[in-house]
């Protein structure tokens, strides 16, 4: 049942994604991509809980590396997107 329930969420979220992204104008496609980089950094919350104090040393190291990599995406992605979007100004 677990698999079905998760797949349900997957399918609905993909449809929602298509609807949302189709409305983003091509002017903003580069910030959209760097912004998605940031959002895909959501794996950080998985990385934080994948291993715990009871795990093998190797698992702890791999988990820490996963946290660091995902955090690069989160922090770098949001910051660079903000930097770009700040440059888009209206006439006058």
């Amino acid at each position: 049942m677990e698999a079905i329930y998760l797949s349900f969420i997957l399918v609905l979220a993909i449809f929602l994604g298509f609807e949302l992204i189709a409305k983003v104008p091509s002017t903003l496609h580069t910030p959209l991509m760097s912004g998605s980089n940031a959002i895909s950094g959501i794996t950080v919350i998985g990385a934080l809980t994948a291993a715990n104090s009871g795990s093998a040393d190797l698992a702890l190291w791999l988990g820490t590396a996963a946290v660091a990599l995902a955090t690069i995406n989160v922090v770098g992605g949001y910051m660079v997107t903000d930097r770009m979007l700040a440059m888009f100004k209206k006439k006058g």
Binding site: P31, N52, A59, V80
Partner: protein
């Protein structure tokens, strides 16, 4: 006192709020006026998701958490601050790779626990596979974009067979692991290694000109990898956020393919232009013009459309082009910038480069917007663009570009083409535009030519 179950319940409530903020953030990206606020909203969603997760009792030891977050934040913020706007494709390619690597590692760490159900083991394999392919595929894309490795397509005999065998080996290893799952399983190591090799194999046969499609596709994979990790950990927020990114990458991939009039399989499996060679001879005379004469025509113009290509950014001419646009507007002329979807080195790249040069976003228009009104334009100025304004794409069935949507600058009253010399574009295809009745070639460095016209306007 809160027990473990209550804490998990509360964390999931926080995740719902995060999901809402992500969706709202993307929704606000539908206009440049609200986009920045949307990005901020999305980042708040991420922050509360991370903080909420830290309340979970089952997690990494604190020193590991702090180390990971601090190192990641440092690298991320330095990269975001240092990167030049022209280098954005490389940065996005790298970030795609990090996202993939992170999902690979999360899958791998999950394989350490014993007693996983078969379903979980299958998702662990998926997470490692998609993550691994995304990691090495992105690193190759980064190498090609930054010219640290040759950007042309690398193909060799038996490539298809080799890739076929690779896929077979991946399937066999995956099944063997799932039948007898263990962290010490050689099949697990095989899946990791093979997925890394596979990522390289699917990216090297793709030429540099097609990299915009590839980074959009890898963007999508990085989202799907996060989804797979979400299945492993039974985490809804990972699945929702990953799906949003996956959908975004797929849409961009599709837009890019359409703009080049090619199918995705054509981009992925064949080098460009190998199949067809144009047999049509381009006839006519090239009519050069001096910057002085160009100034006189521009001074009398009411409507001007500027069509920039990546050549403009290479010549660092965007600032002086913006200056020209300002002067034309002061002179009572209406100026628009027409941007082809594949101008620049990634989706939307040209818009960012122009925004950096302070061109207001309401002056940036899409191909489909400008084409119906282009015959009313007094002057079309083509700067550093070639294939995206090639009229052969519309009317020469023998042209390799035939069928690709282009900006029909040849229908404007006068066309200025700024170019260093006569030469074919990225695709190596002749451009009949240069020989057109109403075309004037302004030879020389684009930046110098425009500067000259700007000086005339001021003087």
């Amino acid at each position: 006192m809160m027990n473990a179950e209550n804490i998990l319940f509360s964390i999931n409530l926080v995740y719902i709020v995060s999901a809402i903020l992500f969706v709202y953030g993307l929704k606000m990206l539908s206009s440049p006026a609200t986009a920045r606020k949307g990005n901020l909203l999305s980042s708040v969603g991420m922050l509360i998701a991370i903080v909420g997760t830290l309340f979970n009792e089952i997690k990494l030891p604190w020193e590991n958490i702090v180390a990971g977050l601090v190192i990641g934040s440092l690298i991320g913020s330095i990269a975001a601050r240092k990167v030049e706007m022209t280098g954005m494709p490389e940065l996005v390619a790298l970030f795609n790779g990090f996202g993939g690597a992170s999902s690979l590692l999360v899958g791998l760490v999950a394989a350490f626990s014993t007693g996983n159900s078969t379903f979980v083991n299958v998702t662990i394999i998926l997470s490692i596979l998609i993550g691994g392919v995304t990691l090495t595929g992105s690193l190759v894309a980064y190498g090609k974009l930054s010219e640290r490795m040759p950007s042309k397509a690398i193909q060799f005999g038996g490539q298809q067979i080799f890739n076929g065998l690779l896929v077979l080996a991946i399937i066999v290893s995956s099944v063997m692991f799932c039948l007898n799952p263990s962290i010490d399983s050689v099949w697990l190591i095989a899946v990791i290694g093979l997925s890394l090799v596979f990522g390289i194999m699917i990216t090297i046969p793709i030429g540099g000109a097609d990299m915009p499609v590839v980074i959009a596709l890898l963007n999508s994979y990085s989202g799907l990898a996060a989804c797979a990790a979400g299945f492993v950990l039974n985490n809804n927020l990972l699945i929702v956020a990953g799906s949003l990114v996956g959908a975004s990458g797929l849409i961009l991939t599709n837009i890019m393919c359409k703009a080049m009039n090619r199918s995705l399989s054509n981009v992925l499996f064949s080098g460009f232009g190998a199949a067809k060679v144009s047999t049509t001879q381009v006839e006519g005379e090239v009519k050069p013009i001096t910057a002085d004469d160009a100034y006189l025509i521009l001074e009398a113009a009411q409507n001007v459309v500027i069509v920039p290509g990546y050549g403009m950014a290479v010549a660092q001419a965007q600032h002086v082009v913006r200056e020209l646009s300002d002067l034309l507007e002061e002179n009572g002329c209406e100026v628009q910038f027409a941007i082809h979807p594949v101008a620049g080195r990634m989706p939307g790249h040209m818009n960012v480069l122009l925004a950096e040069a302070n061109v207001p976003y309401d002056q940036l228009v899409e191909m489909d917007h400008i084409n119906p009104q282009i015959s009313n334009m007094d002057v079309a100025i083509v700067i550093g663009a070639n294939d995206v304004v090639n009229p052969a794409a519309n009317d020469d069935e023998n042209s390799p570009l035939y069928g690709m949507p282009v900006i029909n600058v040849n229908q404007a009253r006068t066309v200025f083409v700024l170019k260093r010399s006569m030469g074919a574009g990225f695709s190596g295809v002749d451009n009949p535009l240069f020989f057109g009745e109403n075309t004037r070639m302004l030879f020389g460095d684009a930046k110098e030519s425009i500067s000259h016209i700007v000086t005339e306007f001021k003087g």
